[in-house]
């Protein structure tokens, strides 16, 4: 009944077809971002290739030709990869439980996953330090359980860094997967079961492929955040584990070496852009192959 009422209304042409005054509403925002975001970005890229006597690729030569800086880039990528992998291994099954929880339990569980996102990264890194200190909670726990006899040094180790990074970025993996899992019709699993598919086959051939869009979204988000992270690595590791962000900060704030900082920023930007483009290409392929995205 309602469909017959709505159909002619939907078939009517939109009221405005001529030069649309409503389009002008977009102008202030677009203009603002052009001046305060796009322009500075272009200027930064420009400064990375601007030398004493005009155009130079000196900055890039210094970054990409130096084993130290290559190592720094490697560190960042490694940190990004390990953080992403760790967040995926923990976050993927957790997102399932979160999506399948019902009623009040789901609200509470969701809030508990969501809360850490809203707590300052400084507070979290500070707390993580307390956990890992020689006289911190983890050593205290392990001593009391009898796992160790003397406190173990954990802070300023790579393990601590990875744990801290996963801790900070894990919700960015859980939430996109959660929202995809929630959308999956549980009857897909039922249908596969009635066709004789074992639980493992169901998971690998139906559930996993259908959740891939969420995994791609979560992984690209976590990777691009982790690769550019600054606060957590500098608090948990300091200079012992230099990342691209730390080199950039140093170049601009301490060394006043704009060419170096600009070139490093450009490399980081390129990595971020590759992740974004790669992720959107994968999403498009997934979407083309099915309607799941």
């Amino acid at each position: 009944m309602s469909a017959t009422l709505a159909a002619p209304a939907a078939a009517l042409p939109p009221l405005r077809r001529r030069l649309d005054p409503m389009a002008l509403l977009a102008l202030p925002g677009v203009a603002f971002l052009s001046v305060v975001f796009l322009l500075p970005l272009l200027l930064l890229l420009w400064s990375s290739i601007r030398g004493e006597g005009g155009f130079t690729v000196n900055g890039y030569v210094r970054v990409l030709g130096d084993a130290y800086y290559i190592g720094v880039i490697g560190n960042s990528l490694q940190l990004g990869l390990i953080t992403t992998a760790g967040a995926f291994i923990l976050g993927y099954p957790a997102a399932f439980a979160l999506a399948r929880a019902r009623g009040y339990a789901q609200v509470v569980l969701f809030a508990l996953v969501f809360l850490p996102l809203t707590v300052s990264i400084i507070v979290k890194s500070f707390g993580w330090g307390i956990v890992l200190r020689r006289d911190g909670i983890l050593n205290w726990l392990m001593l009391n359980v009898g796992l160790i006899e003397r406190p173990v040094r954990m802070i300023f180790t790579e393990g601590a860094l990875y744990a801290g990074m996963i801790n900070v970025f894990l919700p960015f993996m859980v939430l996109p997967i959660y929202s995809v899992v929630r959308m999956i019709d549980p009857r897909y699993g039922d249908a596969a079961a009635t066709l004789g598919a074992s639980p493992w086959y169901r998971f690998t051939r139906v559930t996993l492929p259908l959740t891939l869009p969420g995994v791609v979204a979560g992984a690209s988000l976590v990777f691009s955040l982790a690769v550019a992270a600054y606060v957590t690595p500098s608090l948990l590791m300091g200079d012992r584990y230099m990342t691209m962000s730390m080199v950039m900060a140093k170049a601009f704030l301490n060394l006043r070496d704009w060419q170096l900082g600009g070139a490093m920023a450009a490399v980081l930007l390129a990595v971020a852009a590759m992740v974004v483009v790669g992720a959107s290409l994968m999403q498009r392929r997934l979407a083309r192959h099915g309607g799941a995205a």
């Binding site: 649309d20 993927y92 099954p93 439980a97 307390i130």
Partner: protein, 265 residues
């Protein structure tokens, strides 16, 4: 059946572990803030509120809190205005290249914060804008705008504008129809966008660190400075206060729009 139950078991174990892991560094801060000793030894020794009392005495902490609140509130408000106008234009108007503009408007989200900070620092120097407050404000509008754009765009595109027509046939004027039908429907998107924007601004470190000066420091910068200079349980006290505020805001938001509706980050 048993395999199914195994999978369910793994999923639930993972969720419990994840939540415990996520909450661990947040929860440990609280007992440490009530300790009597000057170090963060665990378990904490004694009970005292001295570190809360010291918050007032730490140089620049309250000023930084006030500055961060100011910047976050003003930049969020600005973003709500610019972002909502832009979202309306993109959803309702005939904007040439609407898809490209949408991508552009949310792209600061994908940009490493440090790169944005450096780019802004450089440009502000070049333009001659040396005022830290204004630099921070402009930069934070860039930070907050994508959050507002995303959520408002999402709720606007889910909104069935036939409802506005329905309200008009039922005797509402156009503005009244918008107010009575459109606004209540996109309010959740509005609130969650604003919350995310506020948090993103309030908690921002990598952009702000390039734009602050000696007298104008945001809270995260001030906290990290303090942590590096004199790490003592005062920081735990400040952190506990911040966590408390966050929980209150989250509960308010849950009452207003429901947390799960805000999950689509």
């Amino acid at each position: 059946m048993t395999m199914d139950r195994l999978g369910t078991g793994i999923a639930w174990t993972a969720l419990i572990l994840v939540i415990a892991f996520l909450l661990l560094p947040i929860v440990v801060v609280i007992p440490v803030s009530f300790t009597e000793s000057t170090v963060f030894r665990f378990p904490p020794e004694g009970f005292s509120l001295q570190w809360y009392g010291r918050i007032r005495n730490v140089d620049g902490l309250l000023g930084a809190l006030w500055l961060s609140a100011q910047i976050a509130a003003l930049s969020t408000a600005t973003s709500l205005l610019l972002g909502t106008l832009c979202a309306i234009a993109l959803v309702r108007g005939l904007v040439p290249g609407a898809a490209a503009i949408t991508t552009f408007m949310v792209s600061p989200l994908m940009l490493p914060g440090l790169v944005l900070g450096i780019a802004l620092l450089q440009t502000m120097r070049e333009v001659g804008l040396r005022d830290a407050w204004w630099s921070l404000y402009l930069a934070h509008v860039v930070i907050t705008l994508p959050f507002v754009m995303r959520t408002v765009l999402a709720s606007l595109s889910l909104f069935d504008f036939a409802m506005v027509d329905a309200a008009r046939t039922l005797g509402c004027s156009y503005p009244k129809a918008l107010w009575r039908v459109l606004v209540p429907n996109i309010l959740p998107g509005f609130i969650s966008g604003a919350l995310f924007a506020f948090i993103a601004s309030f908690d921002n470190y990598p952009v702000s660190m390039f734009l602050v000066d000696v007298r104008t420091k945001t809270l995260p910068i001030q906290l990290l400075n303090y942590l590096e200079i004199s790490p003592d349980p005062t920081l735990a006290a400040v952190s506990t206060v911040l966590i408390g505020l966050t929980v209150i805001v989250l509960i308010l938001c849950d009452r207003l729009v429901g947390l799960r509706r805000m999950a689509s980050i």
